[in-house]
Symmetry: C2
Subunit: 262 residues, 2 copies
DNA sequence: GAGTGGTCTAGACCACAAC
DNA sequence: TTGTGGTCTAGACCACTCG
């Protein structure tokens, strides 16, 4: 309907080998990168792009789907296609499980969110005994059953992280760890009270595209990967006392690590 | 042509609200997850799927594009659509820059690849002086110009990582660090010889979808995110002496970190 | 040459959002 | 009611791979 401000977008190169829908994607991407469409701004509608480039609607949709898969734009049914705003990221410090933080009685998530001025929430709480996966079992020294604690974290109403902690039953059964709310300082504080003084953690980090379930749970936009972090906690006797499997929306996090040069 | 073994794929649910192309994607995903199509196996051709599900070709292609964006399959022009084999992953230990490794004279990449039985290569070498980006500049204490060392790493012929090191010119100019081959132990060994004894590193990790240039440089399949790692090296005087900006194919790496509980 | 995926057209009908 | 994106059809021609 509205005339497209042609100045914002170039025109196609008919001599180019590059497919038309890729050229259109390139033009849009460049316009976004150069700030000609700001964060949150609406792109020209599909029908405007059809007219501007003189192509069929499928070609335009193909171009837009590229930008979606790159995480640059997201579409809203009945409204339009918008430049994805970059959500604020949460930095995870490598000392986030240091004892001095735990002793303050709040969980790391709550403390950091408060400090950043965000509203933290935890939901989807589930605590149950179950048979461990082979991977979790191997990490924990092959217990037959484990206590699983699942929860989802949200910031200002947006889900950012989904985590499950697994603990051997001989450690966790009939302790505050098996309660929905384990008390101040979280399960690490309880583990230390139970005599499992923590010695160190091992973290394992992957990045990949989310499964359909993860997309749903974290309400992920198209083109947003997840960071998959598996942390194992060891006590001073060298025993693995907890495995925490965490899936994070990658656009919500920066992970920080401190490495001594030794 | 060949009859499709219908047993491998269910049929559509006409009463479902779920879009047809999503249902087809679900069926294929389930078949892959359950191993009915092994890694590297060829999926039924588009025309076979068209016939099996009695839909148009665009609908089938829409379904396949979902699986591609999830990184589950990749298409090969003229051959077919194949289940993506999981490439072997390289684990990066958090002590990979420990001095004891450096003193053995080989770079971390070469040592690890040899140990894993892979054939390592380094190409795209470029060493030049340039003006730093604002981000790099801020990390290095605002030098006017820096030495940039760019290189790409390959394993068994496959590009897996693209890295740029930035060093302040007052440290690196007219030293072996400015040479294409800085010598045994790499630039960290040279830095220490120049009096910049390394104290610690800070690493910053993000995950995101790759830019078109990154897709090209790392020859990334559709649906493979990248891990973006920025490491800053500090000497014992507390000065930032190097920033290394690394982009890794996420399906080729697992990052390991060791965290003391303190 | 036969089969495959890659690109593109020109329509159609639907569901959702905003006025 | 109008405009938006979401889904789907039924074709077409092309480029690539393999025998």
């Amino acid at each position: 309907m509205a005339a497209l401000a042609s100045g914002l977008l170039g025109s196609l190169d008919p001599t180019s080998d590059r497919a038309v829908f890729r050229q259109i994607a390139d033009h849009l991407r460049e316009a976004i990168d150069k700030g000609r469409f700001a964060e949150g701004a609406k792109l020209p509608s599909e029908s405007e792009l059809v007219e501007h480039f003189s192509v069929s609607r499928m070609t335009v949709r193909n171009a837009l789907s590229i930008l979606q898969s790159e995480g640059l734009v997201s579409s809203e049914h009945g409204k339009g296609v918008f430049v994805r705003p970059r959500p604020p990221v949460r930095r995870l410090a490598s000392d986030r499980f240091a004892r001095r933080h735990r002793e303050q009685g709040k969980s790391a998530f709550i403390v950091e969110a408060d400090a950043a001025g965000s509203r933290p929430e935890v939901d989807n709480l589930e605590v149950k005994e179950e048979r461990p996966s082979t991977d979790v079992s191997a990490r924990l020294g092959a217990p037959r059953r484990v206590l699983a604690r699942r929860r989802r974290y949200l910031l200002d109403g947006r889900p950012v992280e989904f985590a499950t902690s697994y603990l051997p039953l001989d450690i966790a059964r009939d302790t505050p760890i098996a309660q929905p709310n384990p008390g101040p300082g979280g399960i690490y504080a309880r583990l230390e009270e139970l005599g499992h003084t923590l010695d160190h953690f091992e973290e394992e980090i992957r990045a990949r595209m989310p499964s359909p379930l993860e997309i749903k749970t974290l309400q992920l936009a198209t083109g947003v990967p997840v960071i998959h972090l598996i942390r194992t906690a060891f006590d001073t006797k060298g025993r693995a006392v907890e495995v925490c499997d965490t899936v994070m929306a990658a656009d919500a996090y920066i992970l920080n690590y401190h490495l001594p040069a030794k």
